[in-house]
């Protein structure tokens, strides 16, 4: 992957001028919605080397006396990689795609409801958004797992509803709520003068929103949207607790098939970590560079 320096993230930017920030005793206004992406994007090859060294050296020292050598463990990993990646990781990505698609669709609708002038539409939307935004993801996953049947019967038709589909629904709920907030925030970040100008030109509210306001904030929504995609992808291993055959579960099965040697844990789960990192890192860097590009332009 090509790694182009992002100003202000990799070294100082020419626009980093000394600024007196507002006094904020609670520290709340400093909250950064792209925190995770920024953290990931800031990592460089040195972090990577240190991480790899820890991964390699620590077990070597720890299990030096054991008969099952660390080399055997790595051999086992190499043997299992096609299974773990093609069957497991691919499934994580598929789950992340479906959850993101459903979450985005529902989130956009919910976000538009949140800015409705009708309290009857707005208040329930705000409630649902806050509810799912502030619930632990694992709790939501289990509620969906237990609340939905394993198959849906419509007359003679029996539609199976497997655990991975439930996981998709479960993960799309917090994504929906967070995308809803992204949409609301983006719409509210458009200056009120735009609304007034459109109103004075006799645009209806709906026309104003769809013709004038949303096209302007579309770009602004992309970086936080990508940030949520990275977070979601990193959360897909939670599905292993639902028995979904994704990477973590398959790794565990592989380890069991290799007689559960403790030496296997670090290579297998370390490999999982690296794979997720390799997938999310470019997304994070792309997110931050897009955020930077869209930040100034209005």
């Amino acid at each position: 992957m090509s790694r182009r320096a992002i100003p202000s993230l990799d070294g100082a930017a020419t626009t980093d001028l000394p600024v007196l920030k507002p006094f904020d005793p609670s520290g709340r206004t400093a909250h950064d919605p792209l925190l995770i992406s920024r953290f990931l994007a800031r990592l460089d090859w040195r972090h990577f080397v240190v991480f790899a060294l820890v991964l390699l050296l620590w077990p070597m020292v720890a299990y030096a006396q054991s008969r099952y050598s660390y080399g055997d463990a790595f051999e086992a990993l190499v043997r299992w990689i096609p299974f773990v990646v093609l069957d497991g990781f691919t499934f994580n990505i598929i789950i992340s795609f479906f959850s993101m698609a459903i979450g985005t669709l529902a989130g956009v609708i919910l976000g538009l409801m949140q800015i409705s002038p009708l309290a009857l539409v707005r208040l329930p939307a705000v409630f649902v958004t806050q509810l799912f935004r502030n619930s632990p993801w694992l709790v939501l996953l289990f509620i969906v797992l237990l609340a939905f049947p394993f198959e849906i019967v419509i007359g003679d038709l029996i539609l199976p509803f497997p655990a991975w589909m439930k996981a998709v629904i479960g993960l799309s709920l917090p994504i929906m709520a967070n995308i809803s907030e992204v949409v609301r925030g983006a719409v509210q970040s458009v200056p009120s003068g735009q609304w007034e100008a459109a109103e004075s030109l006799a645009f209806s509210r709906r026309q104003t929103l769809f013709e004038i306001i949303l096209p302007q904030c579309f770009k602004r929504m992309i970086p936080p949207w990508m940030n949520w995609y990275a977070i979601l992808t990193m959360a897909t291993p939670l599905c292993s607790l639902l028995g979904v055959e994704e990477m973590i579960n398959l790794s565990r099965q592989a380890i069991e098939a290799e007689d559960n040697h403790p030496e296997l844990l670090v290579p297998f789960y370390g490999f999982t970590l690296l794979l997720f990192f390799a997938y999310c890192y470019p997304i994070a860097r792309w997110t931050i560079s897009l955020e930077r590009r869209y930040a100034v332009k209005l």
Partner: protein, 249 residues
């Protein structure tokens, strides 16, 4: 009340009261504007000038009193605000052009989307309006590529594209630098000469004197004094007007 005839006031404001929470901004304002007239509202900041002009196209609501445009009550809850706003154009201090659209698209949007007029016809009109505000060749420029004065002239053309009967100008030159103020004022002057009914909130006294048929001086929510420019500027009666004029002229 729909049987309005052009010999009646096109805009009529009667005993208008408006407050934002506890703060009473307009305390009984009344005046009439005839078709083709140009009036200027001047006064110190915070005197309610902008609020007054924003009430006329229902961007702000009022607590009591009445405002009619072509005989129609503006603050009648049954009134179709969109119909009103087709008749009343407004230009803002901050231009408020749509930044994602070119100058030509900015002008064409409302006639195409709101009035549902055919695109080719609107495009033709938009081009001639751009020529009228002396911006030929800027059709495909985005607002970000235009100077403040140019943006403001596009904003004027955008309002004119709706063929309004009344134009409201809310301190349209206040955000511009002195050299570009003139180009915008020339545009408004052209409009006034074409017979457009114009209501301006302005700090440009020289311009008000030259163009306005009538000048209203507001202070603390009331009209203190009004008159044609010649008498208003040279023979102001009220001490508050005289103090204001002495500071500004």
């Amino acid at each position: 009340m729909a049987d309005w005839t052009p010999d009646q006031p096109i805009v009529s404001v009667k005993e208008v009261h408006k407050s934002f929470g506890e703060l009473e901004v307009l305390k009984g304002v009344s005046f009439d504007v005839m078709k083709g007239e140009v009036i200027c509202i001047i006064g110190p900041s915070g005197s309610g000038k902008s609020t007054l002009i924003r009430c006329i196209n229902a961007l702000n609501d009022i607590q009591s009193g009445s405002i009619t445009v072509e005989g129609q009550e503006v603050h009648d809850p049954k009134l179709d605000k969109l119909e009103l706003r087709k008749k009343v154009g407004m230009v803002f201090q901050q231009y408020n052009l749509f930044p994602h659209k070119t100058a030509l698209e900015n002008i064409m949007m409302a006639p195409v989307k709101v009035l549902k007029e055919p695109k080719e016809q609107v495009a033709e009109r938009a081009r001639s309006l751009l020529a009228k505000v002396r911006l030929e060749g800027k059709e495909d420029s985005y607002p970000g590529e235009l100077s403040g004065g140019q943006q403001q002239r596009v904003a004027i053309a955008r309002s004119l594209a709706m063929r309004p009967d009344v134009m409201l100008f809310d301190e349209v030159t206040a955000a511009l630098d002195p050299e570009t103020v003139k180009e915008v004022l020339v545009t408004i002057k052209d409009l006034a000469q074409d017979g457009m009914t114009c209501m301006l909130v302005t700090h440009e006294m020289g311009f008000a004197r030259e163009v306005a048929d009538h000048i209203y001086f507001t202070d603390r929510g009331v009209i203190v004094e009004h008159g044609p420019p010649a008498t208003f500027f040279d023979q102001a009666q009220d001490p508050r007007t005289r103090e204001f004029l002495s500071q500004i002229l």
